[in-house]
């Protein structure tokens, strides 16, 4: 069950790399958030507490519902539909993603963390971070870059589920709140960029004007 969830997360990452429609991308990131929430419950079957379940629900709600809602609002206001001409094409993105996946599996083998529920946690966590980072550097639209940030954070969260097993729920809660603020700020920034530059193409920000 844990493995299936992790593989689904892995596949959503690959799907994000080849998707040109921003709406679809937001939905896949939302799906990934909900999968992460599920994973937080399933991954620690043995020592699950009420607080743990509540925290997982909170994660799923924020990542699967609040973030997409905020980003959809930003999209609606800026009227963009799809990512035009990314720096790296979709097929090449997929190929690079697969290479990153291979590297992640290799890293997972080199980095055996103690007490892992399965052998896939570390590779999938690494791969999410790689995929998110790659989305940030290879896409031009600010919205897609924000999505890449979220995917990268999902990878870090996966590490949290693994490495920080029971103790600091508070830490994770703090991270989640930080993230919420970040997405708020990104939404507002996108709105302002859109109003001032009349486009969400991050490329245009290199041109200075009054």
């Amino acid at each position: 069950m844990t493995n299936t969830l992790l593989i689904l997360i892995l596949l959503t990452n690959l799907r994000l790399l080849i998707s040109s429609r921003i709406h679809a991308c937001v939905r896949w990131v939302a799906a990934q958030g909900i999968l992460l929430g599920l994973l937080a419950v399933v991954g620690r079957q043995a020592d699950i507490t009420l607080l743990g379940i509540l925290f997982a629900l909170f994660t799923a709600a924020i990542k699967g519902w609040v973030f997409p809602w905020l980003i959809f609002r930003a999209i609606r206001e800026s009227e963009i539909r799809r990512e035009m001409e990314p720096y790296v094409g979709y097929n090449l993105s997929l190929a690079i993603g697969l290479a990153a996946l291979g590297v992640s599996f290799w890293l997972g083998r080199r980095l055996p963390l103690p007490g892992l529920p399965g052998p896939l946690f570390v590779p999938v966590a690494f791969f999410s971070m790689f995929a998110g980072l790659f989305l940030i550097v290879s896409r031009k639209q600010a919205v897609t870059q924000a999505l890449g940030y979220l995917v990268m954070e999902n990878g870090i969260y996966l590490f949290g589920v693994v490495a920080v097993r029971d103790e600091p729920l508070l830490v994770e809660l703090g991270v989640l709140l930080d993230l919420l603020v970040a997405v708020f700020v990104m939404g507002i920034t996108m709105f302002h960029i859109q109003r001032d530059v009349e486009s969400l193409d991050a490329n245009q920000l290199t041109q200075l004007r009054d």
């Binding site: 593989i7 892995l10 080849i18 052998p119 590779p123």
Partner: protein, 303 residues
């Protein structure tokens, strides 16, 4: 060499046109039509074989040799493919590579015959066919490499026979990914719907059909028969990944045949449910299949 391996080959030679009948019947049922009889392709083959052949003045011996070479290469590949637990006639280490390249030879003959006519349409179709199958080959090779790794064997018969219920229980996600990739390759290689529409009448959108526009009569019958054999071969690969080879040989073989009908029905459902992709999207689909296969491979290797 195994003599019992002739049974799957004989089944392929006699029953393969039935797959198209099942596909068309399922499509008709989903659309609420009566549809052509399941045996329609047999009638068509009979009708075509009694016609005379007309050859364009621009074609050479290559045009006629292409058909014979194509069907011979596919039959030779069938000798290497097991069905339902019955091993193939020939099995040796790395035989899956030979099987794939025999399919490549068959494609080469078809393409050469198409180019020989000198028609612009057929050249276009040939170019597309070669491009898409080059991408599909990548996915197919990764799937077979993953199966070889998962079962720790090197022959097609042992690989497909080694996919047992135990292996499925242990490696469900990766085998499921490999199965999906294999079905996508089947659809692409046999010019079925997300890649090519077998019913289209517009040459500009065709891939496979446009290459055989100049074949008529018995030649066209041979073309249809070759594509039926090829569909049978890929369906046998898909069925091979299902965990149905246990039990007595006769029962396993019957299960294999039932699996073939199931694959044909699945193709029919896919064709009823979706439209052909834009040509520009097809490489993405095939790369996606390769990606799924590669993920399956990595999971098998890591697990």
């Amino acid at each position: 060499m195994s003599v019992s391996g002739l049974i799957p080959v004989l089944a392929a030679l006699t029953l393969s046109p039935l797959l198209f009948g099942v596909i068309n019947k399922v499509k008709a049922l989903v659309a609420g039509r009566q549809g052509p009889p399941v045996l329609q392709l047999y009638y068509d083959l009979l009708k075509l074989s009694r016609k005379g052949a007309v050859y364009s003045a621009t074609t050479s011996w290559l045009f006629r040799a292409g058909l014979v070479g194509g069907v011979a290469a596919v039959v030779a590949a069938l000798l290497l493919v097991p069905l339902g637990g019955t091993p193939a006639v020939f099995a040796f280490r790395g035989d899956f590579i030979l099987a794939l390249y025999l399919l490549g030879v068959a494609r080469f003959f078809l393409v050469a015959a198409a180019m020989d006519t000198g028609s612009a349409f057929e050249g276009m179709g040939a170019s597309r066919e070669v491009f898409f199958s080059a991408l599909a080959e990548l996915a197919l090779f990764v799937v077979l490499a993953a199966l070889a790794h998962g079962t720790q064997t090197g022959t097609l018969s042992a690989m497909l026979g080694g996919v047992t219920p135990e292996l499925w229980r242990a490696e469900t996600p990766s085998l499921a990914l490999l199965l999906i990739a294999l079905v996508l390759v089947l659809l692409a290689e046999n010019a079925r719907i997300p890649v090519d529409d077998p019913n289209t009448h517009l040459e500009l959108t065709m891939i496979h059909e446009v290459m055989v526009l100049d074949h008529g009569g018995p030649d066209f019958a041979l073309v249809l028969y070759t594509s039926a054999l090829k569909l049978w071969l890929f369906a046998a690969l898909v069925v091979g990944v299902l965990p149905i080879h246990d039990g007595p040989p006769a029962a396993a073989f019957a299960a294999g045949l039932a699996g073939m009908a199931l694959v044909a029905a699945l193709v029919g459902v896919v064709e009823s449910a979706m439209a052909r992709l834009r040509l520009a999207r097809v490489p993405q689909l095939l790369l996606g299949a390769a990606a799924l296969a590669l993920v399956g491979f990595l999971l098998l290797a890591a697990g």
